[in-house]
Symmetry: C2
Subunit: 423 residues, 2 copies
Amino acid sequence: MKRTSRDIRTANRYGVLRHVVAQSPVSRQEVAAATELSPATVANLVGELLDLGMLVEVGYEDSDGGRPRGLVAVNSSGAALIGVDVAETYIHVELFDLALTVLARADEELRPRENDPGKVVAHIADAVSSVVEQAGVAADRVLGVGVSMPGQVDREGGVSVFAANWDWHDVPLLRLLAEHIPYPLYLDNPLRACTVAEQWFGAARGRNDAVVVNLGTGVGAGLALGGTLHRGVSNSAGEWGHTTLVLDGRQCHCGNQGCVETYVGAPGIMRNLRELSPDSPLLHPDDQTATIEALGRGLMEGDPVAVKVVHTTARYLGAALADLINLLNPEVIVLSSWVAAALGEPLLAEVRAAVAGRALRRPLANTEIVLCPIPSNPVSLGAATFALEGSLASVGRKNRRTTPGDRATPRNRATPRDRTTPS
Amino acid sequence: MKRTSRDIRTANRYGVLRHVVAQSPVSRQEVAAATELSPATVANLVGELLDLGMLVEVGYEDSDGGRPRGLVAVNSSGAALIGVDVAETYIHVELFDLALTVLARADEELRPRENDPGKVVAHIADAVSSVVEQAGVAADRVLGVGVSMPGQVDREGGVSVFAANWDWHDVPLLRLLAEHIPYPLYLDNPLRACTVAEQWFGAARGRNDAVVVNLGTGVGAGLALGGTLHRGVSNSAGEWGHTTLVLDGRQCHCGNQGCVETYVGAPGIMRNLRELSPDSPLLHPDDQTATIEALGRGLMEGDPVAVKVVHTTARYLGAALADLINLLNPEVIVLSSWVAAALGEPLLAEVRAAVAGRALRRPLANTEIVLCPIPSNPVSLGAATFALEGSLASVGRKNRRTTPGDRATPRNRATPRDRTTPS
Ligand SMILES: [Zn+2]
Ligand SMILES: [Zn+2]
């Protein structure tokens, strides 16, 4: 009973803007056809987005024999969005225009001793100031800042990160950031950022049920079901990396054994390589990135060890993806993140074959498996998209742009839960 | 982009009626509080349900010092619903009043040679006629007939059943049934019927994200996510029984190896027993039902073999349920169907312990695991509920009650897809 007609209106606003971002310039009639919304609803939502300065009228096109049709386009310079990708060793910040084109970038390195909350917040605030200054954007044009944190983000904006050199437990990050950053803030993790990026700009656009599988050091599955991000009751859905593939199998850092991640995450793939060929020159024992890149080059050159490692990895990954297909029956599975990018098409081909040998016929026939088609960093793009969604969700609740004073008080910040279920 | 404001209105209608069914008599104010809908919306929806004859005004209650509040209740005798549970060896039909109280029952046995589509349809039609006659209900009071088929049901109402003595491949069952049954028809499978029953009358009521795990000969997981049934792109989501628990493990009839079903379905539990104690008197080699019942009695008596078999089964089941918790982060997991009923509380206790040892801390802390609390057959109840939902979804599209002629033509039948996404 938590979805309201306001949620539907917000979702429709997303749908209209998504289509205009992708197809500008475009007529209202085309938007209606693509979104399956009524012409009246589209006219109304387009009017709202024009009033907000997010769209502009850009002329007319002839329609066969009928009246010329008005065209609208994204008002690229109408506003700016900022996406922040915090990883274990760096902070990457991008400022986008409304067409989600990058206008400015800033990077900060995080040294091993610099990951306490105060230092991380200072680095983020510096990088945000830097991109705003570089782009020469007026502060009141910044619709919001999306921040992706490599960990668990709770409803109140607390963050827990358990990584090699990190140990954050329920750090009130949203509050700390709000003390230093004068824009609306939206906080989530990379898994969900990538999923939202695919929904707006990638392979999940226009799909009702999609799964975005992140293959990196850790692995996870972002779930876009019924057209919306599935978060679960405590915003922690998607921990596919910690589902069991081999009962009593390899030890996982989560405490369980045989988790998917231990077979198809970067350290798992290194182990697959070590088990097949312990002395392979492809193996860089202390460097995941170098090993995965060496495997990628090996595949291109037809190196038999690289081919075999990817075949073995694809057998594990295929079984674990077949589980997602059988359980969720999605239209598309997108393979994302740096391991998927490094192993690319050869991995995809092997994975498709492995899945075909395991998934049930009927859901299998309805699922496509593709590589992430987004050419830039999907995490900072997705983080900025959270800010875009947040500002669209708040339309009609209060006009933030005319009351900038409101934005500086933490109690007005949108929390992750606010973004999806405005009350 | 497929959800519309009509969908929201339909979902809100479900929510209001669900609450009134559970709490009759009840005031609009209480309904508004329980559903989180505005008082105006509730007043409007209650008015609609009063006009339809589904609710009645039943008097007033005092409110502290204020005006007396009007009470509404379900108009039990206002209409009837029929639920059909087709299994491999029987057909069980129940006719319910609007409070979902059973008014009449009919059972038909299906002999091994009687499962061709024509014979099954004739048995269903006979049983439906029988319950209408027994209950003495006028034909125009029957809102619809929900039919649960033990197989895959596609969007157009075709059914495939692959069971011991069955081999139905894309049988156009909805069309065949429509030739013999003069009521609106709604077709789906037992997994989804049980899930809808839990949403309306059981442990999923008022929960946004719930998983209903069916433990029978086959096993599956009905997914109620974001408050609605998740069907997937080809209406085949929920095949958790065919996700991999043990890579390269026990051979499954689906062609894969190591599926969850081979460890925790009734034949899998028999195998667990046979591996632990091949000569146990609990084992009835050709009779699943007798074996599971013997295990249930053994648990009550503290039989060490029964205790050990359930411990082993719970270890498998706990790992597979932890997968659902980590991936979907639900509020509640409901254990349903005859195996869960037969092994009851002792199984539940072992399963909770096994899950606690495997699931991630954060989603685990937010998930309850319970036994199905519905005292009657949840499949026929859920099938009837599909008919109730279907009639609520069609309110405002056309008034079926005043144009009964419409109902007899197959092209007006709601298909499974129609029920969830009215266009
Ligand atoms: Zn794990
Ligand atoms: Zn199977």
